[in-house]
C-alpha cells in the first residue's frame, strides 16, 4: 500500500518512489532502499503496476513505474480498509474513560 500510495501522484522511478515515501511520511519510514525494487517487481507481476524504460538526463536507463487501473482500485480499497481501522482505533483511544466507566457499572 505504501508503494502504491507513493505512485498515486504519477509515474516515478524507484529512487523517486523511495524519496516520495520518505517525504510523505515525514521521514518516519526509513525503509532499506533495496527492498523497494523487488516490491515494485512483485506489484508489477500482480498487475497493479506497469513499467517502461526511460532515459534519464544523465543518459542512464531507468525503469519508470505507473499505477494500472487495477492498482488504482487496489489502492482505493486499501485506503478504505485503513480508514475504517484508523477510525476504530481513533475512537478507542480518543475516549480513555469510556471503557473504565463501563467496567465500573
Amino acid at each position: 500500500m505504501i508503494v502504491l500510495a507513493a505512485l498515486s501522484s504519477g509515474p516515478a522511478h524507484g529512487y523517486a518512489v523511495i524519496q516520495e515515501i520518505h517525504r510523505r511520511s515525514g521521514g518516519a519510514f526509513e525503509l532499506p532502499e533495496g527492498t523497494i525494487y523487488p516490491a515494485l517487481h512483485r506489484l508489477e507481476q500482480a498487475g497493479l503496476l506497469s513499467s517502461r524504460w526511460a532515459t534519464a538526463e544523465s543518459g542512464r536507463q531507468r525503469r519508470v513505474y505507473v499505477l494500472t487501473r487495477r492498482g488504482i482500485r487496489a489502492l482505493a480499497d486499501q485506503r478504505a480498509i485503513w480508514q475504517r481501522f484508523a477510525d476504530a482505533i481513533g475512537s478507542l483511544l480518543g475516549h480513555p474513560g469510556h471503557a473504565a466507566t463501563r467496567t465500573n457499572r
Binding site: Y15, G34, Y37, P38
Partner: protein, 250 residues
Amino acid sequence: MRSAACWGIQAMPQRAPIADYLEALTRELSFDRSLAHRVRLEVEDHLWEATTANRDTSIEAQARAVMSFGEVRKIADQYAALSLLRQARRSGAIIVLASGVLYIAMKGRVAWYGLMQWALSDTLQPVGKMVLAIDRAAYILAFLFGAVGWAYISSRRVSPRFDVACRSQLKWSFRLAVAAACPMAVSVIADATVTALRLFNERPPLSVFLIPLLSIAIEVAFAVVLVIVIGKTQRSTLRASSLLSRRRVS
C-alpha cells in the same frame, strides 16, 4: 562502518563500490539473465542517483549509497522467489496450453480421417486399438496432472523470500510438471506411431496425408517446447539454490 564483504561483495580493493556491488548482484541473479540485466540497470541508476544527490561522487559517497541499498544476498533472495515462481507459473500454463493443442490436433486428425473415409486396415486394427487406448489414458493423465499443477502454482502467494516454503512450492510444481510431461510424451509418441503405421501401410498421396503429418509436427513441437521450458525452470531453481545457499554457508 561494515566491510564490503558484509554486504555480499567479495573482498576486493574498494576502487569502485558501485561497480563492485553491481557485479556481485548480477552474479547472484545469474539464474535469470534477463532479470539480472534489468535489475542491474535499475540498481545502477538508483545508486548513482543516490550518490550524486549530495553532489559527491567520491568512493566514500558510493560506499554509503551501497550500504543504504542493502545486502546483495537479501535483495537477490527476494528476486529469486519472484522470478522462479513466475517461471513455474509459465511452465504450468504451457502444459495446459499444450494439452489443449494436443486435443485439437487429435480431434482434427480424426475428423480428417473421417472426411477422407480413411479407416485403419484390418491388419492394423488390433495394434491401432491398443495404441489408441494407451494414447487416451496417457492424455487424460497428462491433462489432469497439468491442470492440478497449474492450479497449485497459480494459487500460491509470492513468497517475499527464497525460503524453505518457496523452495517446497517450486519442488511440488516441478514434480507435477514432470508427472504431466511424461504421459504427454507417451501420448505424442502413440499418436506418431499410429500415424506412421497408416502412412507406411497404405502410402496415401501427400495431399491426403499433409494434415495428419502437420498435426503430428505441431504435437511434437509443443512437447519439445514443454520439455525445454520445464528443464529451464528447474535449472534456474537449482542454480538459484546453489548460489544463495553458498552465500549462507560462507
